[in-house]
Symmetry: C2
Amino acid sequence: MASDSLPEKKRISESTIHRLSLYYRALSVLEKEGFETVSSKGLAKREKLTPAQVRKDLSFFGSFGTRGLGYPVVELREKISQILGIDRSWRVALVGVGNIGSALVSYKEFQKQGFKIVKLFDNDQRKIGSNHKGIVVSDIKNLANELELDNIEMVVVAVPATVAQYVVDDIVKAGIKAILNFAPVNLKVPDDVFLRNENMSMELEYLSFALVNDHIPKRVR
Amino acid sequence: MASDSLPEKKRISESTIHRLSLYYRALSVLEKEGFETVSSKGLAKREKLTPAQVRKDLSFFGSFGTRGLGYPVVELREKISQILGIDRSWRVALVGVGNIGSALVSYKEFQKQGFKIVKLFDNDQRKIGSNHKGIVVSDIKNLANELELDNIEMVVVAVPATVAQYVVDDIVKAGIKAILNFAPVNLKVPDDVFLRNENMSMELEYLSFALVNDHIPKRVR
DNA sequence: TCAAATATGTGAAATGCTTCACAAGAAAAT
DNA sequence: ATTTTCTTGTGAAGCATTTCACATATTTGA
């Protein structure tokens, strides 16, 4: 009988993905430092995790190590970059060239990881047409159109909370499936659109809670 | 016999604290919109959570609701602000007046929640002495000293990854117990210092992973 | 006043995530 | 060549978090 069951798509936890980012970072440093291999123990220590956790995380995606030796640094870094999809570059647009927005345009870390901000949008006439790091700011009126024309794959939203939903509605209309939102508001998007929120106050609030309650944190996220 | 057992300090999970931030935000909006009460269901809907989760989270800290009616908006917002320790203002210093640092100085959300940036530090002679939003940038050389003199309670680190550890060592020397780090590096601090990391690339990487793997996110953090 | 509807607070069940512990494989040492 | 050491990969156990389900309390409507 020919009926194969579909290959089970394992559910990978959010925490695991975030830790992959940490492993990637650590491996990049190890590579620069000239190490050829690293053990789960060594990797764990660099990011304040446990060796078991490292091994378990990696095991979801395959067997990359050699018993008795550890993991090959370069190879593992490359493998993780494939898993995360950062073994390529992404065309990113940024909406809202204010405080945060401007900072993000110049943020080296994004570029380094292949996230290329290639379009800027704002609704402020004084900003439209101005040049930020070689990119001319477009009028937000043409948002949906231009996102499509320019083959944008991800959009970063850095507009005031009050208008973020309208902006996101436009972005969704353009067929964009990945949005990173810096506005402190819960945005509604269809089920097939990936939305992540970056809430910078949250961690300060966590610190505040920790100080007031003399809370002992278990780990550092 | 007089030996009472110490009052058990329940361990509150990181997730619960982060959700308190969301509840706080939602309640602030509800208050502005004129609502006097809100149910766990209503609150959950605003932040894409479940009613049971809302009730469980709040139950760790007390009983704030009325059966058949819900929670009093103003009172609950105040209560949460007490729990999070944001029913007061915090004296915050920021080290590294670069892209991100400058943006954070002007970031309204921090001020709104009582996090007052009152000191700026940099090592760049061109920046030292310059004025950002009414604050004169100090020389990072005097970091430890000035932090103590000015009764700083939290420090935001927005320096390059390569120097972040040195900066943090100084901050720790000054007796600071709460640090928010924007540098993409794992910093070492003593056990009694609370360190949180804000890694802005991480969420983009998550989006990248989601697009490449057509991953269905369970919730939005 | 009473019934119906609403909504909390919370043990218990279910689910999810992390850590343990060890067999198995590979390298290093003798 | 053989033993010792090292380290992975992974079921299973342990722990933590979320969801369920319902007793209980309050409001609303008739």
